[in-house]
C-alpha cells in the first residue's frame, strides 16, 4: 500500500452550461521521500486535482468522487472537522504567488507561528521560537529580526522561503507545491528547488510538484504525470518519460520548448490549436484535434473511442493513453530527429 494512493479521482463542476469535468479519472501512487511531478497546460486539471487532495473544494459547487487514500485513510470519506485537523498538519501546500498568499497586514513570523499554534497547544512564545527556527532552516538571514517583518519587506525569493517554512512547520508527510517557482527568477528558482530537495531529504515527506515547466520536473521529480484535458495521458518515471515518451502530446511539449543548450537552428515545432474546453471536450481522445498522428490510427478511432491508459512498450510502470501503434518507433525515427538531432547520434 502506497503512502498516498489516488484512485479514479473525479472533480466535476456542474454549471448552467453543463458539467465541467476538470479532473476525470485520475489515479496515481506516491511514496514517502519521493516526488511526483504533475505537468500540464493551464486548464488541464492539475491544480483542481491537488485542491481535491487538500479538500479545498466546496461541496456545494464541486462533485468529487473516487478515493484519496493517505496512509490508508480515505480523505473523501472523513468529516470536514477531521479534514481540517489534517490539513496543514499532515498535508501542506506551497502556492505559486507568495505575495498574494500571505496576509499583508500581519507580520511574517505571526503568520508562520499561527500555522503551528492551530495544530499544537503551545504558548505564543514557543510558537514564535519555532517560527524563528523554521525561518533559519529555510535560509532567511537574521531570522530573529526578520520574523517581525511584514511580507512586503521580503523579496520574492524570501517570501517563497517563508511560505515553505509555514508549510513545513508541522512536519507534514505530504507536501504539495503548486508552481512553487513560476513567479521567481531563474537564479532564485534554483535556490528554492535546491532548498526543497534538501528539506525533503530531512523531513522524508512525499512531495507533489505541479508545474508547466518540464525542466523543473526533470530536476525534481522521480515520477511524472502528464495531464491533458482533465485526464492523465502519460505516467512513468521521469527518465523514462523524458527519454522514451510514447504519447504525441508529450512529444509536442518536448518539441515546443527551446533548450539553452540545444541547437539554435533546430526548429520549434508547436502543438497547433488551443487546449480543449473542459465544458465540451473533444470526443474520444481529448488530444485528437491537435494530434498530428491521428491519421495513422485506422478507423477514426481517435475521434470515437477514448483510449485507455495502457502500459508502454518498455514496461516498468510506464502508462500512456494513446491508440497509436508502435509509438516508440515513431518517436525514435520521426520525432527525435526533429527535436534533437544531436541526441540521435549519441544513441
Amino acid at each position: 500500500m502506497s503512502f498516498l494512493s489516488v484512485r479514479d479521482l473525479r472533480v466535476h463542476f456542474p454549471t448552467v452550461d453543463g458539467i465541467v469535468k476538470a479532473t476525470d479519472g485520475l489515479s496515481f501512487d506516491l511514496e514517502k521521500g519521493k516526488t511526483l511531478g504533475i505537468v500540464g497546460e493551464s486548464g488541464s486539471g492539475k491544480s483542481v486535482s491537488t485542491s481535491a487532495i487538500l479538500g479545498l473544494h466546496r461541496h456545494t459547487n464541486a462533485v468529487v468522487s473516487g478515493e484519496i487514500l493517505l496512509d490508508g485513510v480515505d480523505l473523501l470519506k472523513i468529516s470536514d472537522e477531521d479534514m481540517r485537523r489534517r490539513r496543514g498538519r499532515d498535508i501542506a501546500m506551497i502556492f505559486q504567488d507568495p505575495l498574494s498568499s500571505m496576509h499583508p497586514y500581519y507580520r511574517v513570523g505571526n503568520q508562520i507561528a499561527e500555522a503551528y499554534r492551530v495544530h499544537h497547544d503551545v504558548s505564543r512564545k514557543a510558537a514564535r521560537a519555532r517560527a524563528i527556527e523554521m525561518l533559519d532552516r529555510v535560509g532567511i538571514p537574521q531570522p530573529d529580526r526578520r520574523v517581525d517583518d511584514y511580507p512586503h519587506q521580503f523579496s520574492g525569493g524570501m517570501r517563497q522561503r517563508a511560505m515553505i517554512a509555514m508549510a513545513l512547520i508541522n512536519n507534514p508527510s505530504l507536501l504539495i507545491a503548486d508552481e512553487p517557482t513560476t513567479a521567481l527568477d531563474v537564479t532564485v528558482q534554483a535556490q528554492i528547488l535546491d532548498l526543497l530537495q534538501d528539506l525533503q531529504r530531512d523531513f522524508d515527506a512525499a512531495v507533489m510538484i505541479i508545474t508547466h515547466d518540464l525542466g523543473v520536473v526533470a530536476e525534481m521529480a522521480h515520477d511524472v504525470l502528464v495531464m491533458y484535458g482533465g485526464r492523465c495521458v502519460e505516467y512513468g518515471s521521469t527518465k523514462e518519460i523524458l527519454t522514451h515518451p510514447e504519447m504525441p502530446y508529450t512529444w509536442g511539449l518536448l518539441s515546443s520548448i527551446p533548450e539553452v543548450d540545444a541547437d539554435p537552428e533546430a526548429k520549434l515545432v508547436p502543438i497547433p490549436g488551443n487546449p480543449p474546453s473542459l465544458l465540451s471536450p473533444p470526443s474520444g481522445c481529448h488530444f485528437h484535434p491537435r494530434c498530428a498522428y491521428r491519421e495513422r490510427v485506422p478507423g477514426d478511432l481517435c475521434r470515437t473511442v477514448t483510449p485507455e491508459l495502457t502500459p508502454g512498450s518498455r514496461g516498468d510502470g510506464h502508462l500512456k493513453r494513446c491508440h497509436l501503434a508502435n509509438p516508440e518507433i515513431v518517436y525514435e525515427q520521426e520525432v527525435l530527429p526533429q527535436i534533437a538531432p544531436d541526441l540521435v547520434e549519441e544513441r
Binding site: V186, A190, G215, P258, V269, I271, N274, P289
Partner: protein, 425 residues
C-alpha cells in the same frame, strides 16, 4: 465554431505567410516539414544599425512621505548602457526582474523619457524628442506587451484595436480600414471574419496574436517585444515565437527581444545582452554568450536554468549557487555591481567599476576577472588597462594603456584575454 477550429495554422512550419487561414488547422505534415522561414536565426551582423543606444540612463526619483515630497534618492533603473541593433536583426535583453530590461524597452519606444544618453533611431536622436515630434516615430517603432489580458482594451472590438493606428495616422481612407485589418488578422493567423469580436472571446495565444497584429499595422521597422511569450502556455509559446520569426523575415523588422527565459532568447536572437542592476555585464553573439560566457553572472544564470535534455540523458549540470538577492538599485554596490554575490570578487571589484571590455570579435564583458568558467584569471586583467594596481588603487606609475569607452558597436581590434594584448581578426 469552437476554439479548436480557428485557423491556427500560421504558427505551423512551412506555411506560406500569404494566403493562409483558408485551410483547416492541424495538418499532419506538422512534424514532417523540413523547410520554414526561419527569421532571426541568421545573423545580420553586417547590416548598418537601425538603432544605436549610447550611455542611456533612467533614474526614477524616490520621494519622501509627507506633504513636501522631497526627492531622497534615485532608483538607478538603467545606468549607462550602449548597444547597437542592426536593421532586420534581433538583440535579446536578458536578466532578472529589476535589472532594467523593461525600462530600456520603454525608453526606446519613448514611453519614458531617458534621464540621459542618446537613442539614435535611423541616425536621429529621439531621446529628447517632444510628444508632438514623436508621432512619426510611432509608425516606425512599435511594442508588443507581455500580458495579452491587460494590453487590449476589453471594450473595443479587435477591428478597432488593430485599426486604431491606421485611423490615428491617417494612412488609409476610412473605408479601407476594415479590409486592411482583415489582412493583418490573416497574417497573424486569426480568422479575418472575427474583426467584430471582443478580446474576451479569444484565448491567451490568440490575444497575443492580436497584439502582434496591432504592432504590425503601420509596418514598423523596429519592434520592442517585452516578454512576448512568458504569459502563454508552453504549447502556445512555440506558435507565437514561430509567428514572430515569420513576420520578422517577411517584413524585415528589427527586434529588441526582452525576456527572462534564456532558452527562448537563444532561439530567437543571434545577439544577446545580459543585464544586471541597470548595466550590461556581457554582450555577445549567441555562440560566444551561451557556449563561452566570460562573466560570472552569465555563467550562474545559465547554470540555473533547469534542463530537460540534461536530465533526459542522465546527469545534471553543475549549478553555480548565487547567494542572496539582487541589491537595491537605489543604493547599488560600489565598483562592480555584481560583486556582492560574486564568488570570485576581490578588492579591486569594490573600488573600480569594470569597463565593458571587448574580448572577441563580437563579445564584450564587464568583469575584472573575465574568463571562461573555471578559468578566471588570478589577477585582474583590466588593472593595467585602467592604470590601477591589482587591488584597484590608482597606480601613479602606470597610465591607462587603452581607451576603454562605452561604445555601442564593436571595434575591429580587441583585448585578447589569453595573451593580454590587443588582437584582431
Amino acid at each position: 465554431m469552437s476554439d479548436q477550429q480557428l485557423p491556427t495554422s500560421v504558427g505551423m512550419p512551412g506555411d506560406n505567410p500569404k494566403g493562409r487561414g483558408e485551410d483547416g488547422p492541424t495538418e499532419s505534415t506538422q512534424y514532417i516539414e523540413t523547410e520554414r522561414p526561419h527569421g532571426a536565426v541568421r545573423a545580420h551582423f553586417d547590416a548598418e544599425p537601425i538603432l544605436e543606444v549610447r550611455d542611456l540612463r533612467m533614474y526614477f526619483p524616490v520621494r519622501s512621505a509627507g506633504i513636501i515630497r522631497r526627492t531622497i534618492g534615485h532608483v538607478q533603473a538603467v545606468d549607462g548602457i550602449s548597444f547597437q541593433l542592426p536593421r532586420g536583426g534581433s538583440l535579446g535583453l536578458v536578466g532578472e526582474s529589476g535589472c532594467g530590461k523593461s525600462t530600456t524597452g520603454r525608453m526606446i519606444t519613448r514611453l519614458y523619457e531617458p534621464t540621459a544618453g542618446a537613442i539614435e533611431f535611423e541616425g536621429r536622436d529621439i531621446a529628447k524628442t517632444s510628444a508632438r515630434g514623436l508621432k512619426p516615430l510611432r509608425r516606425e517603432v512599435q511594442m508588443i506587451f507581455q500580458d495579452p489580458y491587460t494590453s487590449l482594451n476589453p471594450r473595443h472590438t479587435v477591428g478597432s484595436i488593430v485599426g486604431a493606428p491606421l485611423a490615428i495616422h491617417n494612412v488609409v481612407p476610412k473605408n479601407k480600414i476594415i479590409p486592411r485589418v482583415q489582412e493583418l488578422l490573416e497574417i497573424v493567423g486569426l480568422n479575418p471574419e472575427h474583426y467584430n469580436r471582443y478580446p474576451h472571446e479569444f484565448s491567451g495565444g490568440q490575444r497575443q496574436r492580436i497584439g502582434i497584429a496591432r504592432a504590425l499595422t503601420l509596418h514598423p521597422k523596429l519592434l520592442v517585444a517585452d516578454e512576448p511569450v512568458s504569459a502563454l502556455d508552453v504549447s502556445i509559446q512555440a506558435q507565437v515565437i514561430n509567428l514572430l520569426q515569420e513576420v520578422q523575415a517577411e517584413f524585415d523588422i528589427a527586434f529588441l527581444f526582452i525576456a527572462h527565459d534564456l532558452a527562448v532568447v537563444r532561439h530567437f536572437c543571434p545577439e544577446v545582452a545580459v543585464m544586471y542592476l541597470g548595466k550590461i555585464v556581457e554582450i555577445a553573439d549567441r555562440d560566444s554568450l551561451y557556449n563561452h560566457p566570460n562573466h560570472p553572472y552569465t555563467q550562474a544564470l545559465l547554470s540555473a536554468v533547469p534542463d530537460v535534455r540534461q536530465a533526459a540523458i542522465g546527469g545534471r549540470r553543475e549549478r553555480i549557487r548565487l547567494e542572496g538577492d539582487v541589491p537595491s538599485p537605489i543604493n547599488p554596490p560600489s565598483g562592480c555591481r555584481f560583486r556582492t554575490r560574486c564568488a570570485i570578487a576581490q578588492e579591486i571589484c569594490a573600488r573600480v567599476e569594470p569597463p565593458l571590455l571587448q574580448i572577441g570579435k563580437r563579445h564584450k564583458v564587464a568583469c575584472h576577472f573575465a574568463g571562461e568558467l573555471g578559468h578566471h584569471p588570478d589577477r585582474p586583467v583590466t588593472a593595467p588597462l585602467l592604470g590601477v594596481d591589482d587591488t584597484g588603487t590608482p597606480d601613479p606609475g602606470a597610465s591607462p594603456s587603452i581607451e576603454v569607452g562605452n561604445d555601442p558597436g564593436y571595434a575591429d581590434t580587441w583585448f585578447d584575454l589569453e595573451r593580454k594584448t590587443m588582437a584582431s581578426a
